[in-house]
Structure formats: structure tokens, C-alpha cells
Point group: C2
Chain length 325, copies 2
């Protein structure tokens, strides 16, 4: 199954109002509300069904009610009360247990917002019905809106130079590398390699290879030498060198992870790659060196860099790099 720190929905199949199988895979690729209710036709459950039905369009039709009632009971409940939500029968409360909506064989009225990857993004256990559907809708919309927005760590990231010399723990660097390592690669070859330089002695050796314009990197407590080689990745027809491309993808993930963690990660090309290979005994292509550290040391920057640091970000208009056909 997929990996996540969120609780994931169980891989269930239940019967619906018509006695047909309904699989958990129907929830994938969609934002869905799954609610568990104790018994069809009782007052609270009726009100809850009516409330979710009334708001169903705003939930994009994706509301599923699950109860221990049998298929016949939920079919009659649905038609009698004019419900439009999908109803499923979970007679043994097994799925309810898996969601955490039943304990010691007793169903607990509960609601879950499930995202397109099956992650439970929000849960309400022991629900009180009044106004509940409205509260769920508000949260449902909030989650979708946040997800559909340009990632703020991607947006805020810049090639910042004003790095403080304060140390960065190895544990944090490991998290960056784990993010990089989760990149896809051609034939899953994972052609990226990292040398994490963070002792004073080794940093000083690396400083000697930097171009003059990269004076600011000497403040960085950690630098990552990123390298690869042709034989580490796929080399395919028509000049497709996946060693370099895949390593770039891994660095893309690393940069976003660093920004989320409040770390500057600034990749540069201004260094002597041959000298780096000599000093550190590396082979292949030294494709970038990434300076890592905390931001805020703006006083070290020369005038030009100080202006860039807080200036506007310059990018080509989208239509210059992309075309829709």
C-alpha cells in the first residue's frame, strides 16, 4: 500500500443499496466524505442523511453513509427519506472498526474526509448531528482549496545567499536526502549520489574549489556535493541522459523539503568540478553543490547580492515554455 503519515482508508468492499459490490478504489482520485451512522430510519440518522443529501452537490456528489443495516434496510431508508448519498451495508461493522468508528462491537457515529490518495485528512468521532454536515462541508472545502493552491514552499523558495553559520543537524540533512531518494527514475536506477560535507576541515577544502562569486557559501554549515555518472542511469536513444535528468528530479524534491523545514538549499554551478573530484576522490559528473543552512545573515552579502536577495523573482511568461494542444 502507499506510504503516508496520515491514516489510510482500509481496502474494503461492501454491498450498496442495490446489493452491488462497492470497492474502496471508488474513493481514490476524489475527495470523499465517509460517515458511519448507527441505524437507518432512526431520527438522528435520518437528519444526518437529509443534511448530507441537501449539501451533496457541494460535496461533488462524494458522500458515502455506512451502517450495520442490511441492503434491504438501507434501500428502503434511502427511498423513504429521499436520500441521495451512497449508502453501504457493513453488517459486521468490520469496516467501521477499521476506520475507528466502532469499538467493542458498538458503532460510533463518525465522519471522515478522505483525499484522492485515500488519506484520512480529518475525522470526527462521536458526532452530534445538528449542524454537522455544514461543519464537514466547510472543512471539505478548506482542504480542497489548500490542496489546489500553488504549494507555498515552492512559491517562497529562492536561491537565498544570506546563510547563517549556525549548525544544521545531520538528522535534518537525512530528511532532505530521504525526500530526494523518493524521486522517480528511469528503470528505478536512482542515479543520484550525495556527499554531505559538514566538518570544518572538509568545508574548507570545498571552499577552495568555489568561484569568487560564491563567497557567501563559506558561511554555510553544510554543503551537498551532488554527482552522478552516465552508467548510473538510463542512457536512451536520441540523447536521453537520465542520469542528469533523474538527479535533477531528486534535487527538486530536496529543495521543496528543505524549504518546508525552514532551510535554505541553494544549488550552484560555480565551482571547479575536477578539483572537487580530486580532493574528495569522486568520479563522474559533479552536477551541483548545494549550500544548506538557515537564512537571515543578510549582512554578509555584497551590494548586488543584497539587492537580489529581496528583489523580484524573474521568470519567463508561462507561454514561452509551455503550449497547450
Amino acid at each position: 500500500m502507499i506510504q503516508s503519515r496520515y491514516k489510510l482508508i482500509p481496502q474494503f468492499t461492501l454491498k450498496d443499496e442495490e446489493g452491488k459490490d462497492f470497492s474502496w478504489t471508488n474513493l481514490l482520485g476524489r475527495y470523499t466524505v465517509v460517515y458511519f451512522y448507527p441505524k437507518a430510519n432512526t431520527p438522528g440518522c435520518t437528519l444526518e442523511g437529509i443534511d448530507f443529501t441537501r449539501l451533496l452537490d457541494e460535496f461533488n456528489g462524494n458522500v458515502i453513509g455506512i451502517s450495520p443495516d442490511d441492503c434491504k434496510a438501507i434501500a428502503s431508508f434511502k427511498s423513504k427519506k429521499g436520500l441521495r448519498v451512497k449508502l453501504l451495508s457493513d453488517p459486521d461493522k468490520i469496516v467501521a472498526e477499521q476506520f475507528g468508528a466502532a469499538k467493542d462491537g458498538k458503532l460510533i457515529r463518525s465522519t471522515f474526509i478522505v483525499d484522492p490518495w485515500g488519506r484520512i485528512r480529518r475525522e470526527w468521532i462521536k458526532v452530534s448531528v445538528n449542524g454537522h454536515a455544514e461543519e464537514v462541508l466547510e472543512e471539505y472545502k478548506r482542504i480542497i482549496e489548500k490542496d489546489q493552491t500553488l504549494n507555498d514552499d515552492i512559491l517562497v523558495r529562492r536561491a537565498f545567499r544570506g546563510i547563517r553559520p549556525d549548525p544544521v543537524e545531520d538528522e535534518k540533512i537525512e530528511t532532505l536526502l530521504k525526500a530526494a531518494q523518493l524521486a522517480p527514475s528511469c528503470m528505478n536506477k536512482q542515479p543520484w549520489r550525495f556527499l554531505v560535507v559538514r566538518t570544518k576541515e572538509n568545508l574548507e577544502k570545498l571552499h577552495s574549489t568555489l568561484s569568487e562569486g560564491n563567497y557567501w557559501m563559506k558561511q554555510a554549515p553544510v554543503m551537498l556535493i551532488v554527482y552522478t555518472d552516465d552508467e548510473l542511469g538510463c542512457q536512451l536513444s536520441d540523447r536521453r541522459n537520465y542520469s542528469l535528468f533523474d538527479t535533477g528530479t531528486a534535487v527538486g524534491l530536496l529543495l521543496t523539503q528543505a524549504t518546508q523545514m525552514g532551510l535554505v538549499a541553494h544549488p550552484v554551478a560555480g565551482y571547479d568540478p575536477v578539483k572537487i573530484k580530486e580532493i574528495f576522490g569522486l568520479n563522474g559528473i559533479i552536477i551541483t553543490v548545494i549550500a544548506v543552512g538557515y537564512w537571515g545573515n543578510l549582512d554578509i552579502l555584497n551590494e548586488k547580492h543584497a539587492t537580489i536577495e529581496l528583489g523580484n523573482r524573474i521568470r519567463k511568461p508561462l507561454e514561452e515554455v509551455a503550449k497547450f494542444i
Copy 2:
């Protein structure tokens, strides 16, 4: 200034207890609590100062109290009450106004959690002092813990194949491309190019170039042809081809953005690049084709792919790709 959807702290300089300048840049690279209080030595403000002082170590020492009092007053307040938080003097309430902690010249007791990029991640306007510092600490820890965790969209992402044919709006594809476009590149050359294929006719043309194993891509409502060429990016000494590397970085950002939006984005190498260039009139290196769409269409997969889809993710151990020195 940096771009963000969060409100950013103003670029202020205020005098501290010793009459020394204190710049907003001291907040960068750190998680800081900034609280505004009306008047030194009054009961509520004293209690608030004492509470934040008591919890100061848990805030990593990063708590700043700002009031309209002059430097002498805050110095005496600090020593008399044994406060250890940093106090700043904002006599004209200008910084308070900029934060949103003053209105019509009147200071409103308020607290802000500022992250390492100067983003205001949480605010309390009109604070009631009792138990407030504890509440702020809880939120402060929650934000840091979340930020320091491996990004869940990076973690959950897989090269999923079970794509539903449901259409994906151009607007969403534009958001993906905007994320890609925010990647860094050597000399800011932005060497990546995207052809977004989403009409039936053009998709069918593209299908004819796919390898047999990529049958599942025929379900995808959108495919991105990603290409570049040597002269679009830096070509530096020792085989450093930044066209490919930078395009990879851009794709790394795009994949994370897609996952956040609930979209599968699966880059493949199994296609005929020469045929793609002929059909669509492109030049250069067709480095990948990315299938985009919603997940959950698992029934279309052959047995091998169905197993992989929900199987374990295989990666080399970290020590095979990274070394700390």
C-alpha cells in the same frame, strides 16, 4: 520581497531595551513568537511577559514582546519583573499597525508565530492573557513538528498507473506548470519546455508513439511532453549538461505539486522520441512524457502492474547514495 500566500512580516527596525537597533532579519531562519502588548508594568502585560519568560526555552529563546513604551520603560519593566524575552519599543505603533496589531492608533494585544521565511503562520488578535502562552507554545511546537517531517506528498507519491479518463481542467495543468517554472536553473536559463497534449486527436497521435508496456497511458486525459535542448541551458566543463538537470528539477517540483492536488503525474521513458518530434514538430531532447489524471482506475491494469500499484516502494538504502564527511 519573497512571494507567499501567507502574510509576511514587515521589514522593520526597532530599538530594544538597551536602545540598540533590532532588525526584522533577526527573525529569518527561525521560528519566532512576536507578541504586542499595550503597556509595560500593567498587570496583564506583566503576567504575559512572565508566562512567555517561563516557557522561553521551549520557544528556543525566540520570543519578542513589542509595546509603545520607550526604551527606558521596557528596560525597567524587564529588570523589575525578571523577564527574559526580548523587548522592543514601537512608540508610534507603526510596526504594530503593519502586523495588524493596532487600529486607529490603539494597540490590540496580539500574538504571531513567524516561520523562518518571515511568513505569519498563525495569529491571535485580541488576546486574553490567561493560559495564552501555553496555547501559543502548543501551536508553535505543532507547526515546527509538521515542518520538520518528511513532506507527505513526497512520501505518498508513486508512479501510479491506474488513471481515470475523467478530464483535468487546463487551470490545474497551469498550476503544475507554474510550480515547474519556479525551479532554479543555471544562470536562470529555464531550459524546460512543455507541450500539454489534451485533445482527443492529439492524444491519439501521442498514443501511437508509446511502447506497449505503457498501454495504461491511453486512459490519461492529459499528457505532458517534456523537452529541452543543449543550447537552452548551460553547458559547462566536465560534462555538466544543465539543460537536462534543470529540467529534472522542474519536473521534481511539478510532481510534488500534482500529488498535493490529488493528481497522478507519472513520467515515463517508454516512447519513440523521434516519432514524437516528427508528429508534433518539436526539436531537441524529448526527455519524458508525463501522464496526468486522477487515480483509482485499477481495473485497467495488467496483473504485473496491479501488483506494483499497491506493492512496496523499492529504494536503495540511504547509505548507498549518500555519505557524510
